[in-house]
């Protein structure tokens, strides 16, 4: 089994545990082990955007050092916010000797970071290394008839220099959905922002965003929204509960991680799946579902 150096991030150990459970299960099914770094710290979740601020690069660079210590020149993430923060930090310091020297001098208790660790998102591994054909081959319960609305959010696609796909017209989640037998749909909000951390002090904005995003997915006849960001997942699912209470005729839309979609098709541990989606799958795959 091939090992991938895996950085989970805080949220996958807490509210997004199903993301990790299903991610581990599908990767094992594909012959890969997500080998978690022995020691890691919160990446910072957002990349610091001021030119003079090295202090907020310490956290992500320290994680790059952990990968280097583990003998790896690569970190794989599932969380797309971790991906963006670590990736941008790697681009910020790798090959920039002045920044490396400053950070290494500051982190005098660590081995020097050599500036060689690359950060990749699991979707890149699936698309570029494993390939859609191999994924299709592994499917034991094709999700025929299931309509999937991909929700990319921001950090997989923006800024340009870290985009894992075309920032304006990505296809990776559609391709993945198609590989597991589901039907991907196009809708206008797939690459929009959910409001992110504004949920802390501008919850009203996130509720409004969710309403638009989910209504658009609903209009496109989606059965489920699929994402790779634990903050998108939280924002969309948590504020939806409010919409169900306050908006007449609002119907709740199930939201899952892309790894859960794969796990359902592979017949491996998918973590907790929303009841509405379970029911839908039961209708779609009556013969194939045991017990």
């Amino acid at each position: 089994m091939e090992k991938l150096t895996y950085f989970p991030g805080c949220t996958l150990k807490d509210t997004a545990r199903d993301f990790e459970i299903s991610g581990m299960a599908v990767m094992e099914a594909l012959g890969y082990e997500l080998a978690e770094l022995e020691r890691w710290n919160c990446c910072g979740t957002v990349f610091s955007l001021t030119e003079d601020d090295l202090m907020h690069q310490v956290a992500p660079v320290r994680d790059l050092i952990r990968a280097q210590e583990a003998g790896s020149e690569e970190i794989v993430t599932l969380c797309s916010m971790c991906y963006a923060t670590l990736k941008r930090a790697s681009l910020f310091v790798n090959g920039n000797q002045e920044r490396l020297d400053k950070l290494n001098a500051f982190m005098n208790k660590e081995v020097d970071y050599e500036g060689k660790v690359n950060v990749v998102h699991l979707l890149e591994v699936l698309r570029d290394r494993i390939g859609w054909d191999a994924i299709e081959d592994r499917v034991s319960r094709p999700l025929d008839g299931l309509t999937v609305a991909p929700f990319y959010g921001c950090t997989l696609l923006r800024p340009k220099e870290i985009a894992i796909d075309d920032p304006e017209a990505p296809t990776v989640l559609q391709d993945l959905a198609a590989a597991v037998g589901a039907t991907p749909v196009d809708y206008p909000f797939a690459v929009e922002c959910c409001g992110a951390y504004q949920v802390v002090d501008h919850r009203d904005i996130v509720i409004e965003r969710t309403h638009r995003i989910m209504s658009a997915a609903r209009r496109a006849d989606a059965d489920v929204v699929v994402t790779s960001c634990p903050l998108c997942h939280y924002n969309l699912s948590d504020t939806q509960k409010e919409l169900v209470r306050t908006v007449p005729d609002y119907k709740e839309m199930p939201i899952i991680y892309f790894t859960q979609l794969m796990a359902l098709a592979f017949g491996v541990d998918a973590g907790k799946i929303p009841t509405a989606l379970r029911a839908k799958l039961k209708r779609l795959q009556p013969a194939k579902r045991e017990g």
Binding site: K13, D14, N41, C42, G44, M55, V58, A59, R62, F106
Partner: protein
């Protein structure tokens, strides 16, 4: 560095808050400051490295770094610049441990500033107990209360971590809360303790205590001197 000799003893120079003193080599910082005429009314306690009251900051001559230690545990060196920190004005959350909901965000609820950690590791560098302070803050952030309790176990609440933190985190108070939650809700209840508590409640030791309450001071002192002491396990002596 030139060293003076006084009464045949080797002496070293120390600078306490800008003033230079000559003190015998080999003293702890605390003893040296007392030798120099300072009297501790705060910032001194057990003098054995356990109470965490004597946080000290020093710098060696020619070094740009500040060092952090306990004054009662650190030997003076020639040319040290010293200052004592008698108190850390860090706020401590108020809670009733019996009424807490030990969910994964409980530490964040009482100490939200742990989310401001930048992983600079300055806290770890300041810790006189060699605790992986930053690592336990990170465990706390991801809701791992057991690991926070375990990693912070040797904390003596000196407060140096919090004095140094650029994110204004109250590490030691937060960790104490983690250990309390762990003890109350997560660690298995030790059977022998349960049994002993039951014995106490059933009055097994009442007669013995009654007897002790009525013996003379002399008999009590003799009993104390003759008490059975548990042998320290091999290799457990504290080294400086």
């Amino acid at each position: 560095m030139a060293k003076d000799r006084e009464d045949g003893k080797e002496m070293v120079r120390i600078h306490v808050m800008g003033k230079t003193y000559s003190v015998p080599a080999g003293l702890t910082i605390m003893d040296a400051m007392e030798y120099a005429g300072y009297r501790f009314t705060r910032g001194a306690g057990c003098r054995s490295g356990f109470c965490g009251a004597c946080s000290t900051v020093y710098r060696r001559e020619g070094d740009y770094r500040l060092q952090f230690a306990l004054a009662c545990q650190t030997t003076v060196e020639d040319g040290m610049y010293l200052v004592q920190l008698p108190f850390t004005p860090a706020p401590r959350a108020k809670y009733d441990i019996t009424k807490i909901n030990p969910n994964e965000n409980v530490l964040l609820q009482y100490y939200p500033e742990i989310a401001r950690c930048v992983s600079c590791n300055t806290c770890t560098k300041a810790c006189p107990q060699d605790i992986q302070v930053m690592d336990y803050i990170q465990s706390a952030l991801r809701g791992d209360i057991a690991r926070t309790a375990e990693l912070s176990f040797d904390c003596i609440q000196c407060g140096l971590c919090s004095m140094r933190c650029p994110a204004d985190i109250k590490h030691y108070h937060m960790a104490q809360m983690a250990r309390r939650i762990y003890g109350r809700y997560m660690s298995p209840v030790p059977e022998h303790l349960e049994k002993r508590l039951q014995e106490i409640e059933e009055g097994k030791f009442d007669a013995e205590l009654d007897r002790l309450m009525h013996v003379s001071r002399k008999e009590l002192e003799a009993a104390y001197a003759a008490r059975v002491r548990e042998k320290a396990p091999a290799g457990s002596e504290r080294s400086e």
